[in-house]
Amino acid sequence: MVSSQVLAKVARKLPSPVRSLAKAVYYRGAHWAHSDMRRFGTVQDLYYWVSDGNIDTLLLLQNYFSALYPQLPTETNGTVSIYDRDGVLLGSESFALAHNGCPRLRVSTLLESFGLKPVSNGIQSQFGTLEVHIAIPKGVLHHIKDQSPFYFWDRFYLGYTTAKGQTCFVHGVDKTHIYCEDGTNQPFDWYKPVKGLCWSPEIPVNINDYQKLNVVLINRTNLATDVDLTLTDINDQSLTWNQSIPAKGVRRFELTPENTARIEPEELRLQVSGMASQYGRPVLFKEFRNGAISAMHC
């Protein structure tokens, strides 16, 4: 670790052309971004799903290869896998993507097809994580076959919809798995577990704007992690909550005007301690008294 940090420092001081040459020699056919990225493949992430009878999760799976390579045939296929809040697989479903196509799936429908009734099965089945793995189209693989290692990172947008008919979207932020296009379909973890990572979201929270503000955190590593969420007011008075997030699991901290009544309600600030990965920052899932929802990363 120390030697790689020293090398990185030295590399930053090299002139650009020399740095590129030094990088090529150092990595010798492997990928600069991750040692498990051999040849071709994709990087996928875990996303938060909710399906509680009022809010459902909408998957619009755009064939992003068509946007990047409009001149190539980009028909392909993919798999969506649904996990519970502890990272236990509930089921998987395959889908086909046309050139410029976009399969549309609802998590409630997928859960039903797995034999699960999301609402009646209790909290365990009301939220969790999901992963979508879209294979590199054959036409794209052929196009890049003579190049050095090349990966695609599906940045993703997740939709949420309500019984009232509103839909909102939030983008992905991080990486969980590396899939090599070698036919094994066995992913590698992007992250090794680390401790002590913090995140200080920029959002000023006026808690009275919300009926409920869910702070959602996903553990993208293979080791459970303890996470603290601290909410601090303009007088530096604070409240702290703690949860343990299992490997590849998800937890949400539910903030309301009622459970934060001991501190000033306006221009509150959040801090997350114990985050499992550097960019695994929270999703804020907002629920309002009029039935509106919205989601954002921070």
């Binding site: 410029n100 009232k164 839909t167 959002i203």
Partner: protein, 307 residues
């Protein structure tokens, strides 16, 4: 090296008066990664532009003390200059430690290197009166449309699935054309296509966007009604589409606003640039693939060919 304090930490924002949305900006004095510039406080400013892209005023919003968040009502602040139309504003944060070294915030400052304020983002929030709000956090991309002589021309390729249309919900794509160079004068010729879930192109639109301006387009207004009706999901009545946009003159930042005015609900999200999807070991390929794709899409959208 000469550094513009006003360009150090900024976020361009579209004020969407035409949609009846209140626009607020949330600013923090903390590094989100909790590592850099600990204990720093900032002065916040707002540059206000006319709907035509003319600079109107620089307003001092106030101080953000160390370890604090502030929320500013941009609609309220800008209303006296631009009462009813959509327009651009830019939120700036200037560290007090640097501001004390100049006589005016507009002055440049001589520094050995650009201070590291990477991912110092602002929160843009839209809301309906007495309704819900939707927020998104982002910052001005480094060197946005700077048009420094000798540098290659900026271009845009963007794509997303964030479109849902029904009797309840509407999607607006909001194009933001900003630059870190106050002398920037390019017109951005932005084209986009909309695709059904089966991959068929259902609409194309070309927009000329002046510098320092914004443009909001109601997606439902450019897709034929019969197509929207035919594509409606039998369960929720929503018709969904994907978006691909390209521009060879400039970087244009798209935001997607999903609004349900009858409910008082709104969400907003940005898109990821295509470079963020590409992880080639040869980094030069990122720009090449983006430029080639952008060029192909522009050609398809201008000729009406391809699906």
């Amino acid at each position: 090296m000469q550094i513009s304090l006003l360009n150090l930490i900024t976020t361009p924002i579209a004020v969407l008066n035409s949609l009846g949305l209140r626009t607020r900006v949330g600013l923090s004095s903390d590094d989100p990664m909790t590592i850099r510039h600990l204990g720093e406080s900032y002065q916040a400013y707002l540059s206000i532009y006319s709907p035509e892209g003319m600079f109107l005023d620089l307003v001092h919003l106030g101080e953000i003390p160390a370890n604090r968040r502030r929320l500013f009502d941009v609609t309220d602040i800008a209303r006296k200059l631009v009462p009813g139309q959509d327009h651009l504003v830019v939120a700036h944060r200037v560290p007090n430690g640097l501001l004390s070294r100049v006589s005016r915030v507009e002055d440049n400052i001589e520094l050995q290197e650009i201070p590291d304020y990477h991912i110092y983002r602002a929160m843009l929030e839209y809301s309906y009166p007495d309704g819900g709000n939707g927020g998104v956090i982002y910052e001005t991309p480094p060197g946005l449309n700077s048009h420094i002589p000798g540098h290659s021309k900026s271009n845009t390729l963007t794509f997303t699935c964030q479109i849902a249309i029904s009797a309840t919900v509407e999607t607006h794509v909001v194009l933001v054309h900003h630059s870190v160079n106050p002398l920037y004068s390019n017109i951005a010729n932005f084209s986009f296509g909309l695709f059904s879930t089966s991959g068929e192109r259902v609409a194309t639109k070309n927009i000329a966007l002046g510098p320092f301006s914004v443009k909001s387009v109601d997606i439902a207004s450019i897709i034929p009604d019969e197509v929207i009706k035919q594509d409606a999901d039998p369960v929720d009545g929503q018709s969904v589409y994907t978006f691909v946009g390209a521009c060879e003159d400039a970087v244009v930042l798209p935001l997607f606003v999903n609004a349900a005015p009858m409910i008082g609900a709104v969400g907003v999200e940005h898109t990821h640039p295509p470079q963020a999807y590409l992880l080639p070991s040869d980094l030069k390929l990122k720009q090449r693939i983006k430029s080639e794709a952008s060029s192909v899409w522009k050609s398809l959208f201008s000729t009406g060919g391809g699906s």
